[in-house]
């Protein structure tokens, strides 16, 4: 589907669909932050070892994905598209979608720099301009999985998957999101700072972006409501001796005791 798409879609053209209020806010936030993601993006593009999340836990260890060779894969919220690059190198026909024009600019730069091309689409994962049942794998790693509303992006992911296709996405740990302080640069402690019931949309003082985090039961009901069978929930634990990440909101010590990241796996019926 990759080559076919590249000819069909206006990669830099204007969007036909209007963005939700939070998608517009997150677009400007990510355009603003994109500069900080160039160097980490380049390191990931240069790496041959696919890895997950802020601690870089290796896919070889987690085995969240099976063999992707020959699969049509879509990354929702690809950012600088390093995960798409890893999937492409392992033989997938990959499409990367992101809501930030600046992030996609970086991604296109890396495509030229590393000599690896695949379609990159500008848009929100809440309304994807691609046909039904056209992918075997939909993946999101801190992409649409936290920056778009699950009640909008997950139905889209389900629509885009073929029967038997797999949805794999990484989000912040649910309990972590109860413990992360409002203040920037202060790591999560052991206090529960906000209620679990009703968790969905998160906004932070001094920051215009909007995040989404759901309770466990709500993810399960949402997945099943869209014909996705829950296959696994990997609750990631950092290996002993893991150094701090570049993100201040959680320490390796915390992430050694409680799950700081979770990977959901589900399959389209």
């Amino acid at each position: 589907m990759g080559a076919e798409l590249a000819g069909r879609v206006h990669l830099e053209g204007p969007e036909a669909v209007s963005l939700s209020e939070h998608a517009a806010r997150n677009r400007s936030a990510w355009d603003r932050w994109s500069e900080e993601y160039v160097e980490p993006g380049r390191r990931n593009w240069a790496s041959d070892e696919p890895h997950w999340g802020i601690w870089g836990i290796r896919e070889a260890e987690l085995q969240a994905l099976g063999d992707v060779a020959g699969k049509d894969a879509l990354e929702l919220g690809c950012g600088t598209a390093y995960w798409s690059a890893w999937l492409a190198r392992r033989g997938a026909r990959v499409v990367g979608l992101d809501n930030s024009p600046r992030q996609l600019e970086t991604a296109r730069g890396f495509q030229a720099e590393f000599g690896l091309r695949f379609p990159l689409l500008l848009g929100s994962a809440e309304k994807v301009d691609l046909p039904d049942a056209s992918f075997d794998l939909v993946l999101s790693e801190y992409g649409a999985s936290i920056w778009a509303d699950p009640y909008r992006w997950l139905p889209e992911a389900a629509r885009l998957l073929r029967p038997g296709g797999e949805l794999v996405f990484l989000v912040n740990g649910t309990i972590l999101m109860l413990c992360v302080p409002d203040e920037d640069d202060v790591p999560a402690g052991q206090e529960l700072l906000r209620p679990y019931f009703g968790m969905h949309r998160f906004e932070w003082p001094g920051d215009d972006s909007v995040e989404f985090h759901l309770p466990y039961g709500e993810w399960i009901r949402l997945l099943r409501a869209h014909d996705l069978e829950v296959e696994d929930l990997l609750e990631l634990r950092v290996p002993e001796g893991t150094p701090p990440s570049r993100y201040p909101f959680v320490t390796p010590e915390w992430a050694r005791r409680w799950p700081s990241e979770e990977i959901w796996k589900a399959r389209k019926r």
Binding site: I175, L192, P195, F197, I220, E229, E235, R257, W258
Partner: protein, 249 residues
């Protein structure tokens, strides 16, 4: 059948604790309609089991069989299993009082002396899924269910295990225990309780051929009452109980 060490300890615990438990909670958990858990939230609201009339239903860790008696009245064919003979004596008394009759089985849910594929529903409400090893009870439940059958059970949430303050013997707003060591808790009263991480339950269901259907995290109403010493204010903000539903395809 020989008991596991945990099953032996829990049999001892419940044989000792049954009289006091039933004196304290028996009426509260034995009201006129089926209800779930610490705050006795009505099944008519949660709709976990659905229609039970005409179904073969196994209760794992039935205690004095308050739940099974109510299901019998709704037309189910229940079997109550408990690991404590003293609890089953209470159950026999309640069956007689209620004028209903169904089999009561004295065994651990880790090794159930009943035939494969003989139930449409296997369930418990803070029963054997908490007081027996899920690595044995989930495979047993899968074996006992007919194709299309439902496994449903409530238990304390992982968050309760994390936020229980042993010093005050109460829930509070702090993570006291680690998540990654969740599995077995040895209580000070001699009982052994089991608690899996969320992902641990999901993998265990799937390994035993069960499809995950739901995880209901009930929130008790502001005016909820209970005979158990659980902190309602805490449970209004964070889930104290999980009700898992899985189905045999």
């Amino acid at each position: 059948m020989s008991l596991s060490e945990a099953a032996r300890r829990n049999r001892e615990h419940w044989d000792t604790a049954a009289d006091e438990y039933q004196a304290r909670h028996g009426a509260f958990i034995g009201r006129a309609e089926p209800r779930w858990g610490v705050w006795q939230i009505p099944e008519s609201e949660l709709r976990i089991l659905g229609e039970v009339a005409g179904k073969d239903v196994l209760e794992l860790g039935c205690g004095a069989a308050q739940w099974s008696i109510l299901l019998a009245r709704q037309g189910a064919r229940p079997v109550g299993l408990d690991n404590s003979e003293r609890q089953l004596e209470h159950a026999r008394r309640l069956l007689t009082e209620a004028g209903v009759d169904f089999p009561l089985v004295h065994a651990s849910a880790e090794a159930v002396p009943l035939a494969d594929e003989s139930f449409d529903v296997v369930f418990c409400d803070h029963g054997a899924m908490s007081f027996a090893d899920p690595q044995h009870t989930v495979p047993e439940s899968a074996r006992l269910l007919r194709p299309g059958g439902l496994l449903a059970f409530s238990s304390a949430s992982p968050l309760v295990s994390l936020c229980w303050n042993d010093d005050t013997d109460d829930l509070d707003e702090r993570l006291h225990a680690e998540y990654f060591s969740l599995f077995r808790e040895d209580d000070s009263d001699g009982a052994v309780q089991f608690q899996l991480p969320y992902g641990g339950w999901i993998r265990l269901f799937r390994r035993n051929g069960l499809t995950l259907e739901d995880l209901v995290e009930p929130r008790p109403p502001a005016d909820a009452t209970t005979t158990y010493e659980w902190n309602l204010e805490w449970a209004r903000s964070w889930p104290a109980e999980c009700i898992w539903k899985a189905r045999k395809p």
